[in-house]
């Protein structure tokens, strides 16, 4: 059913449709409205348990415990909140707990900033969480049930990453698949090994050098296995919603000589610029990477080989190359492709269509590695 609603609130509606057992949240901008919604659904009895906690570290710790008893669990955070969860992120993945978290992407301190970039989630890429990036609120809402579907089959936690403010606070029309259909898509969660006094086990235990690496290797193997499940979930979701999802959205890439690749909401702008430039006869394309972990290296190489590629990173690795750019380079290792790195758009500095046109122009020449949006936008004081 089509609804005109603010991003964070419509995501809350879908979260409640997913039959969550336990929520534990510590509200933080830009997903405060989502915690409000979850609280409301708890008050209405639609979410059976909502634990108010004193920090994000506690929020995720509470869900580790809840998930280990076999409950379906959900939380939300972003920016500093996600950084405070850092230690527990690794525990949740290593314990194979299918927790789902909605991250409202936010810049990290210092300086303090509440606006959008993707530094927070990119910095958690090694933690063992599947990462899905959303182009718009429709993708965000549709990705939640798919996240539970994949998490509960492969037993790995999932972050659904939504650009803070750009999406969380955007009011747009979104089709929300009704509860009954979501329940059909998402069967009740059955954890194969849960905390149960009748059949006691210890989870998150100590492992000697004789065992530790075996478990880590197992997580790596299963993370790559999750690619198949993500595609399976995207196809199954298409059957009930009419919208199919995969590891990426390739837009007019087949005959393109230049392709811009990136994560999240900025790619909606890139898609529009592709349309504009195509009208002028330029052979350009765009690729939105929906799934960053597991990284779909072979699938990307298939589309990007022989092309000029520009990678937008709204995140940096201080003292090294931009993270997404590096991963794309690695995927294209041994292929003929020219890859440029464009990094910037940090802390809410918007990447406008005029910027993207400039990037496509620049890509006509030799590959570059450079900052974008170096000039702050001019404030409009009058008219």
């Amino acid at each position: 059913m089509l609804k005109t609603k603010e991003g964070a609130r419509v995501i809350g509606e879908m979260a409640a449709n997913c039959k969550i057992d336990v929520c534990a949240c510590y509200p933080i901008t830009p997903t405060t409205h989502l915690t409000e919604e979850l609280n409301k659904y708890y008050a209405d009895g639609k979410i059976p348990e909502y634990i108010t906690v004193e920090s994000e570290f506690s929020a995720l710790s509470a869900l580790v415990g809840a998930s280990a008893t076999g409950a379906r669990t959900f939380t939300t955070t972003g920016g500093q909140g996600l950084l405070l969860m850092h230690e527990v992120l690794f525990s949740a993945a290593g314990m194979r707990l299918p927790i789902v978290m909605l991250v409202g992407n936010r810049a990290v301190s210092s300086p303090l900033n509440i606006w959008n970039d993707e530094q927070d989630t990119i910095s958690q890429r090694d933690s063992g969480w599947i990462q899905i990036y959303c182009r718009n609120n429709q993708e965000a809402v549709d990705s939640l049930p798919q996240a539970f579907y994949v998490a509960e089959k492969i037993l790995l936690p999932v972050m659904v990453c939504v650009d803070g403010h750009y999406l969380t606070h955007a009011v747009e029309q979104v089709d929300v698949v009704p509860e009954e259909k979501v329940h059909k898509f998402l069967p009740p969660y059955k954890y194969p090994l849960k905390l149960d006094p009748e059949n006691p086990v210890s989870l998150g235990v100590y492992a000697n050098p004789t065992h530790y690496q075996d478990f880590r290797m197992d997580v790596v193997t299963d993370m790559f296995e999750a690619k198949k499940l993500l595609i399976e979930a995207g196809k199954a979701w298409a059957k009930i919603s009419g919208r199919e999802y995969g590891l990426m959205n390739a837009y007019k890439t087949k005959d393109a000589d230049r392709i811009i690749l990136g994560l999240g909401s900025v790619m909606d702008n890139v898609f529009t610029v592709v349309d504009d430039l195509r009208e002028q006869g330029e052979k350009v394309g765009a690729l939105h990477l929906r799934v960053f972990r597991p990284f779909p290296a072979e699938e990307l190489a298939e589309i990007l080989k022989g092309k000029k590629v520009g990678v937008i990173d709204r995140d940096i690795s201080i003292g090294g190359a931009a993270p997404l750019y590096l991963e794309v380079l690695e995927a294209l290792n041994g292929q003929k492709a020219e890859v440029s790195s464009f990094f910037g758009g940090l802390g809410g500095r918007g990447i406008k269509r005029s910027h993207i046109k400039e990037l496509f122009d620049k890509m006509k020449g030799s590959p570059v590695k450079e900052w974008i949006t170096k000039e702050p936008p001019k404030a409009k004081m009058n008219g």
Binding site: M95, L155, L193, P200, S202, L203, G204, D218
Partner: protein, 82 residues
Amino acid sequence: MNIPHAKPGTSAENLTGEWKAYMPLVNGDKCIKCGICQNFCPEGIMGVVKKIPEIDYEYCKGCSICANECPVKCIAMERVGE
């Protein structure tokens, strides 16, 4: 897909004896069977009091507390392997 977990009682499968760099050796002739080492041993692997200690080397981590506490200094710590 392997969920790391442990059933009750299985911690005994971790043979912590391989951690040790020094092993305690008891001189039974000097021992006065006071039971101090057996009470102080954090692993509880030195046998029962009123008897000369019988050390379970599969679990002894080589912490030297027994040798340190022994009032008659009848426990020597010897380097293990190289």
